[in-house]
C-alpha cells in the first residue's frame, strides 16, 4: 500500500482540486520543480506526477509529507489521500517523517 495518507475524506470537487494542484505546482516551482494531476481515483486518492527538478528526486517523500499534502489539504479544505505516480515509500518512512519533520505552518498566500 502506498504511503499516501489513508484518510477517508469526501472527494474534493474537480475545480477545487485543480486549484489545489495549481497551488502545489506553484510552490514547487520555487525550487524548479512542479506537479500535475494524473487522476483522482474512485476511492478519492489524488495521484500527482512530479515534474521539473522534482522528477527523479530522492527526497520526494519529504516533499509529499511536508509540502504537497498539507498544501493540497489546506487548499481543498479537508484531508486528501495523495500519492505520486510511479513512486512508493514505506509506511514506516512516512510515519517517521510525520514524527520528526512535521510540515511547516502554511501561509495563506500559498493557496490564493
Amino acid at each position: 500500500m502506498a504511503a499516501s495518507g489513508t484518510d477517508q475524506p469526501d472527494s474534493p470537487r474537480q475545480d477545487t482540486l485543480s486549484h489545489g494542484v495549481a497551488c502545489v505546482d506553484r510552490a514547487l516551482r520555487a525550487h524548479r520543480g512542479g506537479a500535475e494531476l494524473v487522476e483522482q481515483r474512485a476511492d478519492g486518492e489524488v495521484v500527482l506526477r512530479l515534474t521539473g527538478m522534482c522528477t527523479g528526486c530522492l527526497f520526494w517523500p519529504a516533499t509529499l509529507a511536508g509540502t504537497i499534502k498539507p498544501l493540497l489539504e489546506h487548499s481543498v479544505g479537508g484531508p486528501v489521500p495523495v500519492s505520486i505516480e510511479g513512486r512508493r515509500v514505506s509506511e514506516a518512512a512516512m510515519a517517521r517523517l510525520a514524527r520528526l519533520a512535521p510540515p511547516l505552518r502554511l501561509t495563506e498566500h500559498l493557496t490564493r
Binding site: 500500500m1 502506498a2 504511503a3 522528477t55 527523479g56 530522492l58 517523500p61 505516480e85 510511479g86 513512486r87 512508493r88 515509500v89 514505506s90 509506511e91 514506516a92 518512512a93
Partner: protein, 333 residues
C-alpha cells in the same frame, strides 16, 4: 501463468555458443564464451558443454514454455560479433523461434551500425522489420573494437529514425555487464539520456540494470518517462543474494516505479525460467529494510505489472487475449 499471473518474458535468446560459431581469428574467443556463460548463467552451474552449443527453436520452446510458467516471450538478437562469426544470438535463430511458435514468441531484431557500416545496418533493420516481423530492435553498442555511442547523431540516430519510420517504437540496449576484456565504460547507460530527450516517441529499454552502473540507471529511469528497465541478467540474484535483491527491488519501487520494470529471464543461459519466477513470486521486502531504507512492500499488482502487463502495454498488446488465443502448451492445464 504463475499463481494466476500471466508471464510475458521480455528477453530470451536462442544462443549460438557452439565451437563452430567461435571466430577462428580471435584467440580469446573460448575464454570470452566461458565468461559470458558465467556472467549470465545459472547460480547452479550446468555442464558448460551443455550450454556451449547452438540452441534451436524446439530446445527453447521446451525450456521456456514446457518447463516453466512463461506464456509469451520475445526472442532477441544479440549483435555481439567480437568473438562469434554469426553473433552471440543470431538473427536467423531468433527469427526461426518466432516463426515456428508465432503465438508464443515475438521476434526482436538486431543490427550494429559499425559491423558492416550504417547503410548495411539500416537495410538489415528494414528487412528484419518488414520481412521478418521484428517488433523491436536490440542494440549492443560496446565492443572490444568498434564501440559507438547511443546518442551519436550520425551513427545511432538514423537507426532510431528508421525504426520509427517502420512503426517500431521500442528499442533495447544491453548496458553494463561487460564481457571479456572490453572497456566497460562504453556500456554505461548515460548516453541514453540525450537519445531519450531527442526521441520522445521512442521507448528505450535498458537491460541488466546496466550493472555495475545501477545508481546511474535508476536515476535515468526515474527521470525519463520513455526509459524502461529490464531485470534481465539480475534474476539469478534472487537466489544468490536475496537481501541484495530486496535492496535493488526496493530502490526500483521507491524511485522508478513498477510500471517501468520488465521481467526478463535470459533463457537459455539461466536454464528454465521457472525457479526464478517462483523466487520472484515469493519475494517480499523485509520490515527491517522497509523501515531502514524506506522501501515500499512489493505487491501482487507490482508483480503482475512486471511479469507481463508492462511489456504488453508497451507493445500495444492485450496480454490476456494474446495468451488465451495461443496454442495450448503440452502438459499445461
Amino acid at each position: 501463468m504463475i499463481d494466476g499471473i500471466h508471464v510475458f518474458d521480455n528477453v530470451i535468446h536462442a544462443y549460438d555458443l557452439s565451437d563452430e560459431n567461435l571466430r577462428p581469428d580471435r584467440a580469446d574467443a573460448v575464454t570470452a564464451r566461458a565468461h559470458m556463460v558465467g556472467a549470465l548463467g545459472p547460480p547452479r552451474r550446468q555442464d558448460p558443454a551443455e550450454l556451449s552449443r547452438a540452441w534451436l527453436a524446439d530446445d527453447m520452446y521446451s525450456l521456456v514454455f514446457e518447463q516453466s510458467s512463461t506464456d509469451l516471450a520475445m526472442a532477441q538478437v544479440v549483435p555481439i560479433y567480437d568473438w562469434y562469426t554469426n553473433w552471440f544470438a543470431p538473427v536467423n535463430a531468433q527469427y526461426e523461434l518466432a516463426r515456428k511458435y508465432p503465438d508464443r514468441v515475438l521476434f526482436c531484431g538486431g543490427v550494429d551500425p559499425l559491423y558492416e557500416g550504417l547503410d548495411a545496418a539500416l537495410a538489415a533493420l528494414e528487412h528484419q522489420v518488414t520481412e521478418m516481423g521484428a517488433r523491436s530492435i536490440k542494440f549492443y553498442n560496446g565492443h572490444v573494437e568498434g564501440s559507438w555511442a547511443c546518442d551519436d547523431p550520425k551513427v545511432a540516430y538514423p537507426l532510431y529514425e528508421k525504426c520509427l519510420e517502420l512503426g517500431v517504437d521500442v528499442v533495447q540496449f544491453h548496458k553494463g555487464i561487460p564481457f571479456g576484456d572490453q572497456n566497460m565504460e562504453t556500456l554505461r547507460p548515460n548516453d541514453l539520456q540525450k537519445a531519450a530527450r531527442d526521441f520522445p516517441a521512442m521507448k528505450f529499454i535498458i537491460h541488466h540494470l546496466a550493472y555495475p552502473y545501477v545508481d546511474e540507471t535508476i536515476s535515468i529511469a526515474a527521470r525519463f518517462p520513455n526509459i524502461y528497465l529490464a531485470l534481465s541478467g539480475t534474476v539469478s540474484l534472487f537466489m544468490i543474494a536475496p537481501v541484495r535483491m530486496q535492496h535493488i527491488m526496493g530502490r526500483l519501487l521507491y524511485e522508478v516505479g513498477s510500471a517501468k520494470l520488465l521481467w526478463g529471464s535470459e533463457a537459455a543461459l539461466v536454464g528454465s525460467p521457472e525457479p526464478y519466477l517462483r523466487t520472484f513470486m515469493d519475494l517480499a521486502i523485509s520490515d527491517e529494510l522497509m523501515d531502514g531504507y524506506g522501501y515500499p512492500q512489493i505487491t501482487r499488482a507490482d508483480k503482475e505489472a512486471i511479469l507481463g502487463l508492462n511489456f504488453a502495454r508497451m507493445l500495444g498488446m492485450d496480454l490476456a487475449r494474446a495468451v488465451a488465443s495461443a496454442s495450448p502448451i503440452p502438459g499445461r492445464p
